[in-house]
């Protein structure tokens, strides 16, 4: 068993070290220090593997503190600070018992957990399944026990409970989780069903358990308290059951099939990265069944040629991606407008306060308009569905072609963004007029010009960022640090605008000149550099 454990640890150590090196190399400046041959440098890799082990152990302890602290302790002290410590402790025990003894026992199983490590060790490295499971189970059981003790004793101490409570509770939890592991295994053995893969079951337990766990916070007193949690008969039963089921787990003969059933190569649970990648891609993808064969014959686009033709088809085939967010924005604006009207009817006083705030709060719209723009989403869709493939053709990277394309897209995108901008203008104008606030024609002009300018500004901004920094990789995760930096600066500026103290007209002037200047600069930069920067990286 020890030698199996050692080889498993060696495999985990190497892959952990490789991963650490991989991410280290991605760091902007430090990453350059490591050369390409680092993966073959045994000594350095051992150092990295050591670091990984230390980090893992630290994480093991911290993780329990974080769980108990954030998920259980924090809500209790936030809501029921006034309760005596003993009652707070009862609440703590209640939430802990429901979450750790019931919910986690269903959602967080170990033996039947789909896991890459299992696939690598048993399927690829051919460690016998039984040996692998015995070794990892022993390690898991011990570390589970050890990692929980300090956190539980500390939190028991905080609530003024005796310290042995922490140790005892950990022991009970470990024994109980052995029992539930055995139950999961038994169920699989008899019925051939892996419960943890039944998402409806797992999520129902999580939902219901969550509700039950936090209900006493609302009611103010715990259902489960230390009397039930620590009573001698209950404890004894749990420990004895734990012992019996541990023997069952130890003697279980069919680990090979228990491993096989959760290490199918196409199981999405095995590979979180792939799952996330697929989700990101699905967000911007077209579906063939969305279109009829008549639509695909494309009579509608016949009058157009070249890039206009391409973009017309692009925007028509990606309607779902473009119309939906616009609809959502319009709905939000509509709901807010109705709320505004209702407030006006119910409490004119609040309403007038609010209107005054809105009138003086024009700078705040910089922030709002940034989030109203659908530019980023459109750019992502353009990258993944169109540019990713076409950029491999020389003609598409030609400067004139890029500019032609940029122009068409800018007009389209601005058009889309102007729809919610108009809606905002309209809704606010109506609210101002109905509220009877002192709001003349000049104010209206200032308001409309500012909002529409801001809408244009962010249309240009998102497209410009896409053409100059081209931040996306084939998996749609961003990898250009400058994209983040420039974007953060723009968001920072829009936040800073909130503090803009001057009168509205001056602010409008600033926005107007800012927009025009930014547009000129952006178009010039795109004109000059995009043939070099607009690439698949």
């Amino acid at each position: 068993m020890i030698s199996t454990l050692r080889s498993i640890q060696r495999i985990r150590g190497s892959s952990g070290a490789n991963r650490l090196i991989y991410y280290f190399k991605k760091l902007p400046v430090l990453g350059k220090l490591l050369k390409g041959d680092i993966y073959s440098n045994i000594l350095l890799k051992q150092v990295f593997a050591g670091i990984v082990v230390v980090l893992k152990v630290l994480w093991g302890f911290l993780n329990k503190f974080a769980y108990l602290g954030i998920v259980i302790y924090l809500p209790i002290v936030l809501i029921h600070k006034e309760l005596p410590l003993a009652e707070q402790y009862a609440l703590f025990l209640h939430i802990f018992i429901i979450l750790s003894f019931i919910v986690a026992a269903v959602s967080n199983v170990f033996i039947l957990e789909p896991k890459r490590d299992k696939y690598i060790c048993v399927k690829l490295m051919r460690i016998p399944a039984k040996q692998y499971m015995h070794a990892t189970l022993l390690l898991k059981g011990l570390t589970f026990f050890i990692y929980f003790i300090p956190a539980l004793t500390v939190f028991a101490g905080i609530f003024g409970a005796p310290l042995w409570h922490g140790v005892w509770l950990t022991l009970l939890l470990t024994a109980w989780r052995i029992v539930t592991e055995a139950l999961n295994l038994l169920f699989f053995d008899k019925k051939g069903i892996v419960l943890v893969k039944k998402m409806s079951w797992v999520w129902s337990v999580i939902g219901l358990g969550g509700l039950l766990a936090y209900l006493p916070l609302y009611l103010g007193n715990a259902i489960v308290n230390d009397a039930t949690g620590f009573s001698v008969p209950v404890s004894l039963v749990i420990v004895v059951l734990g012992g019996i089921t541990a023997v069952y787990i130890g003697k279980y003969p069919n680990y090979r099939s228990a491993v096989d059933v959760v290490t199918k190569i196409d199981d999405p649970l095995l590979d979180m990265n792939r799952m996330m990648k697929e989700a990101r891609v699905a967000e911007v993808q077209t579906k063939e069944k969305d279109f009829s064969s008549e639509e695909l014959k494309g009579k509608a686009f016949q009058g157009k040629t070249g890039y206009a033709y391409l973009n017309a088809i692009f925007f028509s085939r990606h309607k779902r991606l473009l119309i939906q967010p616009i609809q959502r924005r319009l709905t939000i604006i509509g709901v807010l407008f109705i709320v505004g009207i209702l407030i006006m009817l119910i409490s004119p006083e609040t309403s007038s306060k609010f209107t005054t705030y809105l009138l003086g709060g024009l700078p705040f719209f910089v922030f709002i308009m940034n989030y109203t723009s659908i530019g980023e989403r459109v750019c992502k869709a353009m990258f993944y569905n169109c540019d990713l493939s076409l950029l491999r053709y020389g003609f598409y990277r030609d400067q004139a072609a890029i500019l032609d394309n940029f122009k068409i897209r800018l007009i389209k995108l601005s058009g889309f963004n102007l729809i919610p901008a108009f809606a905002i203008c309209l809704a606010c104008t109506l609210l101002f007029l109905l509220s009877g606030a002192d709001w003349g024609l000049m104010d209206a002009v200032i308001f409309w010009v500012t909002i529409l300018c801001l809408s244009l500004f962010f249309s240009v901004h998102h497209l410009f960022m896409y053409y100059i920094f081209q931040p996306y990789s084939t998996e749609l995760n961003m990898k250009n640090p400058f994209f983040f930096i420039v974007n953060s600066i723009v968001i920072g500026l829009s936040v800073a605008c909130i503090g803009f103290p001057k009168a509205s007209s001056i602010f409008t002037l600033v926005v107007l000149t800012g927009t025009i200047a930014y547009m000129v600069i952006a178009v010039t930069l795109v004109y000059k550099f995009s043939s070099r920067t607009f690439r698949v990286k």
Binding site: E288, G298, C386, R392, G394, D398
Partner: protein
Amino acid sequence: MQLILDHIHKSFDGKQVIKGADFTFERGKIYGLLGRNGAGKTTLFNCLSGETQMDSGAAFIGEKDSTRQLRDEDIGYVFSLPILPEFLTGYEFVKFYMDINREKIDPNKSIEDYFSIIKFEEEDRHRLIKGYSHGMKNKIQMLCFIITRPPLILLDEPLTSFDVVVALEIKKLLREMKEDHIIIFSTHILQLAADLCDELVILNHGTLQEIPRETLQSPEFEEQIIALLQDGNND
């Protein structure tokens, strides 16, 4: 017309892949670029097509009495994994491609003519490229250079994905076209190279090496090539 490669270098992450490739390719010939997996065939093609920047060196097009830099538009590149915008139908992509290259194409040919050259079924033309098979996508890519007839045609492992009938059609097509073009054809399948190509060039140790024409016909051809390629193993 010639394509002249002048000392092209390219390395990734400190590893030299192309180490000073020199060669002159002539019009009217189909060249087989032979190399083992990972020898750098695709890298060399990417450098020529402008897809990746070369570290040093250059490529030129030499006409009778002048030489100029190789440009993007001189090249028709068929990728080993066909890459096409999947939201378009085959018909729409070809129409777009023809629009863009209006001045380069033969005004007497219509889009339907082109589809029939590559024997592309009528009902497939109006389906999204997303649903096309590998071979169909490859045919569309081939159609691109049939339409614009660039002087240099690079084919990265093209025939491997075609069934025997289509492969034969494409072979015929390439032979018909070769008079006006420089065609370079990368592959690691020896028979295909020997069968289709007029000249064989080996990419080994990051440099290009011509195989004498006599070797192509000699009975020990295979052994000689294998020996040359295995040499690269002792890197």
